[in-house]
């Protein structure tokens, strides 16, 4: 076993920023807007670094797909403890159309290339909320998947996982190599402190193009329109139940 873990990190618009739809309704304004690492990806990086600190794995490789600025996100992962980074350079129209299917193909290709034992991802990205990349990657590689993980422990060449599901907590045991996606309560990510950022500047980030990995980026989806959610209408207060029924009848609801 190579002892190598691939961690996917995505650069997204910071969660506290109020987003605005572009005037031409093709997407949201991203120029100059504050971006940061997807919170679930931070949790994935933290888990990978913890595994390395426990000496259960040997190397953590941070991967991000996107334009030049994605390298900042990889640097943050390096500052948190990843050993090296891979920046898959995707920009322009390709980047606008980049979705879970393309990213999974890229991750699958990298996993084979890097001989990864484990792929750790966030369960979903906060900009598109797809929750698909982990599952698709596992399918493409024909690997077991442990999604919504709230506890991960390695036992020999198997992984014990606790999953947060609608009904409660599910305990499963899966073989390696595997894909795990991190849920909120898996851990509390450490800060990327300044001395670590300075050290991270010396760690390597390799740049590759999707074509080098043999990945076709064409999207099967076409975005027709992006618009703001409808304005929430003010509610109405009524005094009695009779009034309520009258109002409901007026609105055609009863």
């Amino acid at each position: 076993m190579s002892g190598r873990v691939l961690v996917g990190v995505k650069r997204v618009i910071d969660y506290a920023v109020k987003i605005r739809v572009k005037p031409d309704n093709t997407g949201v304004v991203t120029d100059g807007v504050k971006h940061s690492m997807n919170p679930f990806c931070e949790i994935a990086v933290e888990e990978a670094v913890k595994l390395k600190e426990k000496k259960l794995i040997k190397e953590v490789v941070a991967v991000s797909c996107g334009p030049q600025q994605s390298q900042e996100t990889i640097r943050t992962a390096l500052a948190m403890g990843a050993d090296r980074g891979i920046h898959v350079d995707v920009s322009g129209k390709d980047y606008e159309n980049l979705g879970p299917l393309q990213v999974s193909k890229i991750l699958a290709a990298l996993a084979k290339q890097e001989d990864a034992q484990l792929i750790l991802l966030g369960k979903q990205a906060i900009d598109d909320d797809c929750n698909q990349t982990g599952q698709m990657t596992a399918a493409l590689l024909d690997w077991p998947q442990g999604t919504f993980a709230s506890e991960v422990s390695l036992e020999g060449d198997k992984i014990n996982l606790v999953r947060e599901i609608d009904g409660g907590l599910e305990h499963i045991k899966i073989n390696t190599p595997a894909v795990i996606t991190a849920d909120l309560r898996l851990n509390t990510p450490r800060y990327a402190t300044l001395p670590n950022i300075m050290k991270a500047k010396k760690k390597k980030i390799a740049t590759v193009k999707p074509a080098d990995l043999g990945v076709d980026l064409t999207s099967r989806l076409e975005v027709l329109k992006v618009e703001e959610p409808p304005q929430r209408q003010a509610g109405m207060k009524v005094e009695t139940v009779e009034d309520l029924v009258v109002k409901l009848k007026e609105a055609g609801r009863v």
Binding site: D14, Y15, A16, V17, K18, R20, P23, D31, G32, V33, K34, S36, T188, P189, R190, Y191, T193, L194, P195, I197, M198
Partner: protein
């Protein structure tokens, strides 16, 4: 002072005595317990948990926690990534590269990315930029909107009196550019990286470090991983120490480290106290038909009365879309505690001269920041062993022109030029371990910055007369326009802004109109637009030296002015759970780092310290 009926004479004496004591670290703890014991009728829920008020070496929760810090050496450390700090960094590296010397210049900035905490009108005078980077146009500096029209008005409630802008008046803008300062600062950051400056956004300088001989050794960045109640979390990590031969402090208006340095090195003993204003700003995408790119509008008068300094600005940008930058400035020497700068701004937008521009438009950004108004009279001593002050931190704003960026940048450049020969000299000629460079202050005194500030020094103080605004305008007309500021006297300011508030019972509450949701808005939706956020589980960075003073004094005498002057809704007086009495609730997560509370608190009890780096507003081209 405190109403005698509520407290016994003993408590009265006790509190008066304690208020005289300078609040260093140990005394506030003593002082609050004494205060609480003496005034047993009032129980104050604990608000402040920050270690600058409750030191960790006496706190049992911190026993055994590793407090060693990692340290690194640079030649120069610059605190603050604004126009002054970046200009100084760029100039230093330009000189180093030209003379083929190795120079490690590190810049720390609390914003998560360079430009995210920058807020300004702004009409930029490009003089300093051209001196720093003569080919700024070819390099793509975002100066895209030359000023084409300059309009000045005095507003009354319904009408507008136009004031001609004749050449020679300070507010004339010919040759200047309307810029989105955040974008310019971001561009300066890119230029700095190109010449080899090490930029570290997201890391706040939290502490000044000193050598044994008392000179400045450098700074330490903020600790991370402290919980809201002040205890260490699992992910606690100490900040890092950055040592340097000399440290430049460019924190902007009312910097928190500068506040400490003034005390430590007695830098303010021969100057007047700084006076300030608060500037609130919004960006609007307006109807194309109303868009007049390059148009600059300023107004004074309504809704402020003639004794409250302030005015508005509205600039039409020309960057491909119908965007206007508009805002309102209120001098913080106002006397009525019921005044709310935010609500004055919102109601100004409804004036018949302003509202038509905004009708049919959409507000896309909001923010606020304090700015300097003290000018020449308030410039402190600028250099001390191991460091110096640049930019709006000491304060070089030309108030009638409402421009401070060009002087800030020039001060940064002069600092770099004064430091460079001393840093690269064969032998480090210094009496103290940290370099002292008084040449910087000398060079500044011989530069156009000094001449410019001297010429306008009497304009702002001339407003302190019975006729207020009108007296000031007449003074400006005579002594600036005709006599170019050469009059032999220098008028004084009125004292600190914090001392100007009158007790609430002597003032009338102001009836503000409700926001209509189309042109004017409520505070919380505005704060959301600033994108501000902080890690929730950390001690509030708005620290109180004494937790009981807000209710006792600020609310008791002044009706809680902080709930009105804070442009982000940080301070709220809410009823106690027990039903009787109020308590102060500090919503630190809303803070936009404007520093107004630290300036205007009549009790000077609020001490703004830097929160975990990366927190604060997320301005985009403000």
């Amino acid at each position: 002072m405190f109403p005698a009926s509520r407290y016994s004479c003993q408590a009265h004496r006790c509190v008066r005595l304690l208020q005289k004591i300078k609040t260093e670290h140990a005394t506030p703890q003593l002082y609050t317990t004494l205060n609480r014991r003496a005034c047993s009728t009032v129980s104050t829920p604990r608000i402040t948990t920050h270690y600058t008020i409750h030191p960790r070496d006496k706190d049992p929760r911190w026993e055994g926690v590793e407090m060693e810090r990692f340290a690194d050496e640079a030649d120069v450390v610059i605190v603050g990534g604004g126009p002054a700090g970046l200009a100084a960094a760029i100039r230093l590296k330009q000189l180093a590269n030209k003379h083929e010397k190795e120079l490690r210049v590190c810049l720390v900035e609390k914003a998560p990315q360079i430009g995210a905490h920058t807020l300004s009108g702004a009409c930029l005078e490009p003089s300093a930029l051209t001196e720093l980077i003569p080919d700024w146009k070819e390099r793509g500096a975002p100066l895209n909107t030359p000023v084409t029209e300059d309009v000045f008005s005095i507003l009354t409630e319904k009408y507008r009196i136009p004031v001609p802008i004749v050449p020679g008046l300070p507010m004339q803008n010919h040759g200047n550019y309307i810029v989105r300062m955040g974008n310019l600062v971001r561009w300066l950051g890119e230029q700095a990286e190109e010449v080899g400056v090490e930029l570290y956004p997201g890391y706040a300088a939290a502490e000044v470090l000193f050598h044994e001989d008392g000179s400045v050794k450098g700074i330490a960045t903020n600790d991370v991983g402290i919980a809201k109640d002040g205890s260490p979390k699992d992910i606690f990590e100490r900040g890092m120490e950055l040592h340097a031969k000399i440290t430049l402090f460019g924190e902007g208006c009312h910097g928190h480290l500068a506040k400490q340095l003034y005390k430590k090195f007695n830098l303010r003993e021969n100057c007047e106290p700084q006076t300030y204003a608060i500037g609130l700003k919004e960006l609007w995408m307006i109807d194309e038909k109303k868009w007049r790119p390059g148009r600059v509008e300023h107004s004074v008068g309504w809704p402020l009365d003639r004794n409250t300094y302030g005015g508005s600005f509205l600039y039409h940008l020309n960057e491909g879309e119908p965007l206007v930058a508009l805002g309102f400035v209120v001098g913080l020497d106002y006397t009525n505690p019921y005044l709310s700068p935010f609500r004055e701004f919102q109601r100004w937008k409804h004036h018949p001269f302003v509202a038509p521009t905004l009708e049919g438009g959409q507000r896309i950004a909001y923010g606020a920041r304090a700015l300097n108004e003290g000018g020449f009279q308030s410039i402190p001593k600028l250099t001390f062993p191991g460091g110096l002050l640049i930019g709006c931190s000491p304060g070089f704003m030309n108030v009638p022109k409402i421009k401070g960026t060009h002087t800030a940048m020039k001060s940064g450049m002069l600092a770099a030029e004064a430091i460079f020969p001393k840093l690269t000299a064969e032998t480090l000629d210094s009496e103290t371990a940290g370099l002292h460079v008084p040449e910087y202050a000398e060079n500044l005194k011989n530069s156009w910055v000094w001449k410019e500030l001297y010429a306008v020094r009497n304009i702002r103080p001339s407003f302190h007369n019975y006729f207020g605004l009108y007296g000031g305008m007449i003074y400006t007309g005579i002594f600036y326009w005709i006599f170019r500021g050469k009059e032999p006297w220098t008028l004084k300011h009125c004292g600190t802004d914090a001392n100007q508030l009158k007790p609430a019972k002597e003032c009338t509450p102001i009836e503000y109109p409700k926001p209509d949701g189309k042109i004017s808005f409520d505070l919380l939706s505005s704060v959301a637009l600033s994108g501000t956020n902080h890690e929730g589980d950390q001690p509030p960075h708005l620290t109180l030296k004494d937790d009981s003073i807000p209710v006792a004094r600020n609310l008791g005498i002044y009706d809680g002015p902080e709930q009105r002057f804070c442009p982000a809704g940080v301070y709220e007086y809410v009823p106690l759970d027990t039903g009787d009495g109020m308590r102060l609730q500090i919503n630190a997560q809303n803070c936009v780092h404007c520093k107004t509370c630290d300036i205007k608190d009549p009790s000077q009890n609020i001490n703004w310290v830097v929160p975990e780096g990366g927190g604060g507003p997320a301005y985009n081209g403000m």
